[in-house]
Subunit: 210 residues, 2 copies
């Protein structure tokens, strides 16, 4: 809280949706993404974001406290916008679409920078770590619907743990993105998905595989 901030009415009661508060949020998120894409995480600051967004830095400090929380909010907003859970009727096609979307999203510089920023800061900020973990738990559970439908169709064993399948697909992709720097091409994505599917498929002896 800082008395220098005169740009917002003091003790505003409830925030209207679509009102000033949500305009500030949208502008701050857009500016965060633009700054990340341009200068990366190292150069990011609430001051730069505020300047680009045309808002008072104090508004950002009061609402988010630090750049990491704003980055997390931008990440949540981005993902809400871009992630939909595939439902093609085939486990392989669903997982391939999931893998391709994850690879394409993460190749965008601002998304990669967000992931790196949260990964770097989470161990030093318990609240950020909890928010990030809740976000991933929700995302993995949502994507798990792909696996639940495959179980219902009899493609894979009922004992298969849905989020574990999603993690097995997303893990090698993010290992390349964040750590090894190896290139991510479609052959790699297909091979990753096929290994996972083969790994969780009903053994042929049950006669359920065609």
């Amino acid at each position: 809280m800082n008395a220098r901030d005169r740009s917002e009415a003091p003790a505003a009661p409830k925030r209207r949706p679509g009102g000033r508060s949500s305009r500030v949020r949208a502008a701050a998120i857009a500016a965060t993404l633009a700054e990340l894409a341009e200068g990366g995480y190292a150069a990011l600051s609430l001051e730069r974001i505020a300047r680009r967004a045309g808002v008072n830095p104090t508004s950002l400090y009061r609402r988010w406290g630090n750049r990491e929380r704003l980055v997390l909010e931008a990440m949540l907003a981005q993902v809400a916008q871009h992630v939909s859970v595939p439902d093609t009727g085939s486990l392989r096609d669903d997982l391939l679409e999931l893998a391709r979307t994850a690879a394409a999203n993460s190749a965008r510089p601002e998304v990669a920078a967000m992931a790196r920023a949260v990964a770097a800061q989470a161990p030093h900020d318990a609240e950020l770590a909890a928010a990030n973990q809740a976000f991933w738990d929700e995302r993995l559970t949502l994507d798990g619907a792909i696996v639940e439908r495959a179980i219902e169709r009899g493609e894979i064993d009922v004992a298969t743990e849905p989020t574990q399948v999603i993690e097995a697909v997303l893990g090698p992709i993010h290992l390349r993105l964040l750590l090894t720097g190896r290139p991510i091409d479609d052959t790699f994505l297909e091979r990753t998905v096929d290994t996972v599917i083969n790994g969780v498929q009903q053994p042929p002896s049950t006669g359920r595989r065609q």
Copy 2:
């Protein structure tokens, strides 16, 4: 290069192994690990490392240029010291040992901080990115011996790509470590390994599985 640094002889010819140069390196790496474990990456600086190591900061600047390169050198040194490729005679036991070692190593705060530091900085430093990529290519190739031996024993198909199996094991572990923050327990490691093994195993119809 900085003329203030009088602690090393100018234009020293060849460095003796075990001489001053390797003592500085060992002290710098130990201090880097201690600083990372204590304060994380955000607080790390060559000045703090030099103070802890009892060397002149200029020595570190001249040799490594920035903290990221020193972190990378520390990472390489750590891994050379701690990673050996398992060879138990069984693919499952080898991969489980690999997974457990990776999880245990990465749980050490200084190792986690190193991985996060390199992940955060690599996109902004082509030389660091290349060194990191070369390190991982070598590590994945070395670990790939696990898969090559399983192929020789007839446990898995000859067409199996060794590094892809290693990435399939390490990927989900690092996804939890770096992104999702989910807990890594032995049940998770076993399930990850078993899915991968099942995914690359010879289909029973070939009669090569026992």
